[in-house]
């Protein structure tokens, strides 16, 4: 799911005629002050991060005037809230709220449902997971029929919405469903849906995520990387995504990893098959090595895709080795991996004297693949160790070989 920030979600709501608070996005304190000045009333200053529960974490603050808005913005920008760096703020009018509701839509992909489900509750403003099941009203939407006005009305009535608000809530929900469909959302949530003291319904917050496979239909959303992520894509993420984008021949997934772990060194890591790849990461971590990245090439990708993955992960700064963790008896034809890896390593290793490499490659066409690796890398002076099925489940052994070679590399001061 490609997540949207609150301000982006609210833009989509606004496009369907759903009332949202007057506001704007600020990337610096001066912009926050300017927006507050234009609004001319007390404002809420809200950090824009991909996480719920910002209010409790101190990520939503209020300001009485532009000067205070500027000051609050200065305090929030650049900090970390719930582990996320704050780069943008939504500055919007502070609402006078009479009552809070919850409304959300999610694609329920379970076998029994396989359809969008709209959920409404008169208990909004808190995490929906904390609301007792009995206080939630739900309707499964027939994707062909859509959410008809009587569905929306029945949902509001079932949730216990007061009679005088039934029509307005039903209209709100119908519009929200149209947003959900138009933008190919996997989820969209308005929490709280605020009933203001003036009697109007306003979307006080919005969390939305677009189906990865539909992002190409909406270039106007500016989503550069259509993948589940907790933060903005880096320049590395963008290249990694470009390897996959539009090329469905096998998997070539790459993501950079946190570098917080204590370790003697960092290695570029290349796994095969999600589960086996993770086992390899764990083993390397236990051996005192951190991985610069996670990578998975499986599903029989062409050699060109494997080559691109290896080139990319070897482009990272601060790496002291390369480990191919093929900890799986893969059905894919491993000779394509071998050709891609050899080409990449023959380009990379000559300019990295002593840079160590440990390769494990097992499964279909294993013998031929290992022959290609051995022949293709034989004349390179770097320490290269190549293993097959005899070590397919022996992640600890491989991790310790990697560590030993990395230690040698560091000893001679090349790392």
């Amino acid at each position: 799911m490609a997540r949207l920030y609150e301000y982006q979600g609210k833009e989509l709501l606004r496009g369907e005629g759903i009332p949202v608070p007057d506001g704007g996005v600020a990337a610096c304190p001066r912009e926050a002050g300017d927006i507050a000045r234009r609004i001319g009333r007390p404002v809420a200053v809200k950090v824009q991060i991909w996480a719920g529960g910002r209010g409790k974490a101190g990520g939503v603050r209020f300001a009485e005037d532009p000067a205070e808005a500027e000051s609050v913005a200065g305090e929030l920008l650049g900090t970390r809230v719930m582990g996320f760096e704050v780069r943008k703020l939504l500055v919007e009018e502070k609402l006078e709220i009479e009552r809070e509701f919850y409304v959300g839509l999610v694609v329920d992909s379970s076998r029994e449902v396989r359809a969008p489900v709209m959920i409404f509750s008169c208990h909004g403003g808190v995490e929906i997971e904390d609301v007792p099941e009995g206080k939630l009203a739900k309707v499964v939407v027939d994707i062909l029929l859509g959410l008809r006005p009587f569905h929306a009305l029945n949902l509001a009535r079932k949730a216990g919405v007061p009679r005088h608000l039934l029509e307005a809530v039903a209209d709100f929900n119908s519009r929200l469903y149209r947003v959900f469909r138009k933008w190919d959302c996997r989820t969209i949530e308005v929490n709280p849906l605020a009933l203001t003291k003036g009697g109007g319904l306003v979307a006080a917050d919005c969390r939305a995520a677009v189906d990865d496979s539909s992002v190409y239909r909406h270039p106007e959303l500016g989503i550069r990387v259509a993948r589940e992520s907790s933060c903005e894509p880096t320049d590395f993420d963008e290249i990694a995504y470009s390897i996959e984008e539009g090329d469905l021949r096998g998997t070539g997934y790459v993501a950079q990893m946190s570098q917080d772990l204590d370790a003697i060194a960092t290695v570029a890591y290349h796994g095969i098959g999600g589960g086996g790849a993770i086992l390899g990461v764990d083993a390397l971590n236990k051996a005192g090595l951190r991985v610069a990245n996670y990578a998975d090439t499986s599903g029989n990708p062409p050699a060109s895709k494997v080559y691109r993955v290896v080139k990319l992960i070897l482009s990272q700064p601060g790496i002291h080795g390369y480990c191919l963790g093929g900890f799986v008896m893969a059905n894919q034809e491993q000779w394509h991996h071998a050709h891609g890896i050899v080409k990449a390593l023959r380009e990379e290793l000559p300019r990295r004297p002593g840079f160590p490499v440990v390769l494990v490659l097992c499964g279909n066409k294993e013998r031929e693949a290992l022959d290609i690796l051995r022949e293709g890398l034989a004349d390179l002076p770097n320490p290269v160790e190549i293993y097959g099925r005899e070590h397919v489940y022996d992640t600890g052994f491989i991790a310790h070989r990697m560590r030993a070679l990395v230690e040698d590399y560091l000893k001679v001061g090349r790392g």
């Binding site: 320049d235 290249i239 090329d247 050699a303 482009s315």
Partner: protein, 101 residues
């Protein structure tokens, strides 16, 4: 990247160049054999040289980008084949992060 006159063709995301002058002394024609084994036999031996008999459109549909001809030619032929596998943005990334040297 070596530049030379000779045969060039493209598959879906790669460009293959063959220096035909080097092919003239080749006795193994390992590229053709590799292409039969690892790809779909895109390269055929015609008058002692590797040839592509498919159209550009057919190449993009059928080629599997196995990179095997380059490997085979380097190790058993005369090093006549060069394959470019472009990665958008990688050079700029390396410059930014100091890994281009």
């Amino acid at each position: 990247m070596r530049r030379h006159a000779g045969m060039r063709f493209e598959e879906r995301t790669i460009r293959v160049s063959i220096d035909e002058e080097r092919c003239d002394g080749c006795k193994t024609h390992a590229c053709v054999e590799a292409c039969q084994r690892f790809d779909r036999g895109v390269l055929r031996l015609v008058d002692g040289r590797p040839r592509v008999l498919l159209s550009g459109e057919e190449l993009k549909r059928l080629g599997t980008e196995c990179l095997a001809c380059e490997f085979a030619c380097r190790h058993r032929g005369r090093g006549a084949i060069t394959i470019e596998v472009p990665i958008a943005g990688l050079d700029a990334y390396r410059k930014r992060h100091g890994t281009d040297k």
